[in-house]
């Protein structure tokens, strides 16, 4: 079983901006920072309108076990603390800061003192760093492993398999030292026996950089991965690097693995070195409607409209704006959305690229099955979902789908398979919850 290669699709790389060093744009006049830029409980604002804040000053604290603090990304005055409509259709509290353009750094910032696993983890938590590859899972929670002997290998994810996106590439080239220091911190405090930096083979310069660094018996190695999407998916990477399968309902650590994005690691190292928490991001701005694609470093909360403006505006009318890459990115309904912690790109597509093709009848060619990295059967999901057959969906394991997009991408009939998978997953989850509630009810009655 383990000898089998996982499926995937060969997507066009479109890494047009890989050679462009990130540039800083002028500080935006206003930033809007949502309290939920991570998975878990939203942070709780600790500032109120009228407060003066400086760069790196906490504006919200983490609440609960899975959460992350939020810091001011510009210096200036808090204008509003109110609800904003997020791209997922939910309202979320957000802090709006009017910038004074000075970017004064908070005077109470200090380099954290680290001498044990415990204060390493609390430093990671204080850094405000979450999974910057896109998932946004609070990194401190991921790294807080109770029994460190379970860790067999830590994979530093530099696959960056999404088309267009090159912000991780730039991290690996421009902040290689920070990535390296981050890896050394993991070696020291997590007692990782093996650290593997996994990079897709379409980034030869990144590979060369780290191979040079690894040559000194550091215990850190570079794994050159084929450029097959979704190489950077957590389960896919663990399988391809370590030949281990993360079972359903389990975490990577259950097979001795931790996967951490290279930019995430660099952000942690930066905080531990300088005391500056996560307040800015390198964003790839690209797509067929963008005049001058660039990598841009911006404060978190910068409106995406400012970024496009900085990149020369649009050369064609944009019909689709994406948070993230084209395979898993989220389409935005307007330009009035802020850059968040877990963003790595914003793309604008012209009419030709934006329009979704008209789906035609399924010809049962099996291409979706052939392209699913998790060996699922998307066409069967669609059939079972149409029949609202929860039992069959459960047997087919629709819940394992990671929505990577391979099936929809490859489908010659252009069927919206990922969309159906999402609906089917929600349907199955609701069905399970309902059955559970029913069982509890009848169980309770039986006990009477």
């Amino acid at each position: 079983m383990s000898a089998v290669r996982l499926h995937g699709v060969r997507v066009p790389h479109m890494k047009n901006t890989a050679g462009l060093k990130p540039v800083r744009m002028d500080i935006p006049t206003v930033v809007t920072i949502p309290m939920s830029m991570h998975i878990g409980a939203p942070a709780e604002p600790v500032v109120k309108p009228g407060d003066t804040v400086m760069v790196g000053q906490p504006i919200a604290k983490a609440v609960g076990l899975v959460s992350s603090p939020v810091y001011a990304s510009v210096s200036g005055t808090v204008k509003k603390v109110d609800d904003m409509l997020m791209s997922n259709g939910r309202f979320m509290k957000a802090v709006t800061i009017e910038s004074d353009g000075k970017q004064d750094v908070w005077d109470q910032l200090k380099v954290p003192e680290i001498n044990s696993f415990e204060n390493f983890i609390s430093a990671v938590k204080d850094s405000g760093v979450v999974g910057l590859g896109g998932a946004g899972f609070p990194t401190a929670v991921k790294l807080d492993i109770k029994d460190l002997s379970r860790i067999e290998a830590i994979i530093v994810n530099g696959a960056e398999c999404e088309p267009y996106v090159t912000s991780d590439t730039r991290t690996m080239l421009d902040d290689a030292e920070l990535v390296w220091e981050g890896a050394a911190l993991l070696q020291k405090y997590l007692k990782a026996k093996r650290i593997v930096i996994a990079i897709e083979n379409n980034k030869p310069e990144c590979i060369k950089t780290f191979q040079k660094m690894c040559s000194g018996g550091s215990g850190i190695e570079v794994a050159v991965m084929p450029s097959i999407y979704p190489q950077g998916g957590e389960k896919v990477l663990i399988y391809n690097v370590l030949k281990k399968i993360v079972p359903e309902g389990k975490l990577p650590i259950d097979v001795g693995a931790i996967v951490i994005n290279c930019t995430t690691l660099a952000a942690i190292a930066r905080y531990i070195k300088t005391g500056m928490p996560l307040v800015e991001k390198c964003i790839t701005v690209d797509g067929s409607a963008v005049k001058e694609p660039k990598n841009v470093i911006v404060p978190i909360g910068t409106p995406v409209s400012d970024l496009f403006e900085f990149c020369g505006g649009f050369k064609a009318e944009p019909k689709k704006i994406l948070y993230g890459g084209p395979m898993m990115g989220i389409a935005l309904p307007s330009l009035e959305y802020p850059i968040m912690k877990n963003n790595n790109a914003i793309l604008a597509f012209d009419k030709k690229e934006a329009e979704a093709p008209e789906p035609t009848a399924c010809i049962r060619c099996g291409t979706c099955i052939e392209s699913c990295p998790l060996r699922l059967m998307p066409t069967e999901f669609a059939e079972a979902y149409e029949a609202r057959d929860a039992e069959r969906l459960g047997k087919l394991k629709v819940n394992l789908c990671m929505e990577c997009g391979c099936c929809s991408y490859a489908c010659p009939a252009k069927r919206p398979l990922v969309q159906t998978n999402r609906l089917a997953k929600a349907f199955l989850a609701a069905d399970i919850a309902e059955k559970k509630a029913q069982a509890e009810k009848t169980g309770g009655e039986g006990a009477k």
Partner: protein
Amino acid sequence: MDRLIVSSSPHIRSARTTQKIMLDVIIALLPALVASAIIFGPRTLLLAGVSAAACVACEAAWEKFRKQPCTVSDLSAVVTGLLIAFNVPSGMPVWELVIGDMVAILIVKMLFGGLGCNFINPAMVGRTVLFLSFTADMTNYTIPKGAVDALSSATPLAVMGELSWSDFPELLLGVHGGVMGETCALALIAGGIYLVIRRVIKPIIPISYICSTLLFSWIFGGEQPVLSLFAGGLMLGAIFMATDYVTSPYTNKGKLIFGIGCGLLTAAIRIFSNSAGGVSFSILLMNLLVPYINGITMPKPLGGVSEK
């Protein structure tokens, strides 16, 4: 700025479409069509054209009647039409051929819901209905001009015992009696190679089908097992009919089982019965088993935990 499009990811799609796949199949059928025109005369071109047009017309008419969106631009009806024409002798009356087209498109394809919903291969059913309804016309194999030996008198399958390896070139080139599209093995194989290169089909079904036909013919003691591979409808069936997406299994393992099943049945029918429909009946029977084959060859989800 106008409204933005908000849709579910992924936001890019591969260039492959159903129409392009069908166009590739049509291109792959062309060498055999040209060969048949050379071997049997230009009437084969007329039959191919009429059959394709009839299939397209049937589909369009049905969709018009049912007030459904017209789907003939996906070219699947053209493929079905060509395949039915390939399965009739060059002297076949046109009206009989059109009946086959109507059965294939109206009954087998559209009544079951159109492309992708039929459980057996429409062209195969069309051919089988014609074979059972108009047996005389369907087995009145036209003799290629200039051929004078045993091969010219009938389909070579009927006279396998009289053949020797010296007849191999004629079998390969198809200058012998038979239905119009099946005789030129060389052209059919060329089409098959094109489809494999274009990744339209995988070679699993044709290879497992042909190899298992050879193996079982040899086990069952058939005459000239190797030469018989190039006679009758085997190449046409294995390359173009058994590989139909809709009526073949999804996975490689399933395709292998399907191919071997077809080969076993073809060898058995050819040797133990004197019916000329070995390939058709085998593929039709295996078509019926596809849901079961899919059921037993489901890929195991990565990390999936089975419920106990």
